[in-house]
């Protein structure tokens, strides 16, 4: 190993004696800001749940209003898909690291865990956040065509165009996420090599 040279000592001194901006916070200020942060998270989550609830209520109303059994099944599946997605969002949101865990985890462990969390998130966009809505959507489309036989051609055409476009967007998102997940996995593998050499 190279010996400690005077320039490196000088650089350490330059580093350690750099001018300070003197930013200080009292415990009361920290507590106040931490409280504000919690409130922000609380309201953001509350907003998400209220928005989801509004959509569920709308579909529940449609479910109750319609007389067609297949349309009911479609709305029911849509509601079930939404509830599942909200549950997933809640679960993923609460899996973020707590500050005490940050103190227990070394940089390597923490960084790998964060990358794995991101990889799982981008890798599961299709299966967790889009897939659950598809059965309800398909059943609703079929029910719509079945209950409006007079407009079958028009419905069939718009159904095909819209679904082709949606499929294209889904495939694009899926490919992009796959690429991002692979990139994250490469970085995780690099860290695993470092970990394996412990």
């Amino acid at each position: 190993m190279a010996n400690e040279s005077p320039p490196n000592d000088r650089l350490k001194s330059v580093w350690q004696n750099q001018p300070s901006e003197g930013i200080r916070m009292s415990v009361d200020e920290i507590r106040h800001r931490a409280g504000k942060f919690h409130k922000k998270i609380y309201w953001r989550n509350a907003l998400e749940y209220v928005a989801s609830l509004a959509v569920v209520v709308f579909f529940a109303f449609e479910f109750w209003r319609t007389t067609d059994a297949l349309t009911r099944v479609g709305f029911g599946l849509f509601i079930a898909g939404l509830v599942y997605i909200v549950g997933q969002l809640h679960r993923k949101g609460s899996s973020r690291s707590l500050p005490a865990e940050m103190g227990l985890a070394s940089g390597l462990d923490f960084f790998r865990r964060e990358l794995e969390r991101q990889r799982d998130l981008v890798g599961s966009v299709w299966s967790l956040y889009m897939g659950p809505l598809i059965p309800g959507w398909v059943v609703l489309m079929v029910a719509l065509a079945r209950t409006n036989p007079g407009h079958l051609r028009l419905i069939g055409l718009s159904f095909t165009v819209f679904n082709l476009f949606a499929a294209l967007v889904f495939v694009l998102i899926w490919r992009l996420n796959l690429w991002a997940a692979r990139r994250l996995q490469r970085r995780i593998d690099e860290l695993n090599v470092l970990q394996g050499q412990r």
Binding site: S5, Q16, I23, P99, M102, G103, L104
Partner: protein
């Protein structure tokens, strides 16, 4: 009768007193933008205060403080990288790439600090943790505890850091090769 363990607030006050300047340097090494840096430093202080609720003395207070600070800053870098297309490099790459200012005399402390900061900010988070700990004067064992890198790998990384610093900041350059 043994003294009661320090409270969350007492631990935070002690840390704020002792590591105030070091935490500011750490935030500066992770965020170049002044406003975002203030936010990051604030996040680090909040994370530290909150973390002391669960501090059980399993590791030293210093290791705990640096882990929380580095991990908070690493999260910040990960979040920022989604918005900025910044390419970060490892020590290995940095060691093999020559710098156009290599061997330039950096007698001026301010200029040396600017170049040092520039170098640190191009590094990947884990290598950044190692170089920052080295510049803060921590020994290899402490660096290993904070980063989780094996002692052997810490030694290799410190060797690389010394080579890079010697080449880039020493008059005449190319020392340590």
């Amino acid at each position: 009768m043994p003294a009661p363990p320090p409270t969350q607030d007492e631990l935070y006050r002690e840390v704020a007193e002792t590591y105030d300047a070091a935490l500011e340097r750490l935030a500066r090494a992770y965020e170049a933008d002044a406003e975002a840096r203030r936010d990051l430093l604030q996040d680090i202080h909040i994370a530290l205060w909150r973390s002391f609720e669960g501090f059980d003395g399993r590791c030293s207070l210093r290791t705990w403080v640096y882990r929380v600070a580095h991990n908070t800053a690493a999260s910040h870098v990960l979040r920022q990288r989604r918005h900025k297309s910044q390419t970060l490099v490892g020590l290995e790459e940095l060691e093999s790439v020559p710098d156009h200012r290599e061997g330039e005399l950096t007698a001026d402390r301010r200029q040396a600090l600017e170049r040092l900061m520039e170098l640190v900010q191009t590094l990947k988070p884990l290598d950044r943790q190692v170089i920052l700990s080295y510049l803060e004067g921590l020994d290899a064992a402490s660096i290993g505890e904070i980063t989780g890198i094996s002692p052997g790998n810490v030694a290799i990384k410190i060797h690389r850091i010394k080579n890079i610093l010697a080449r880039r900041f020493q008059e005449g350059g190319r020392h340590g090769e």
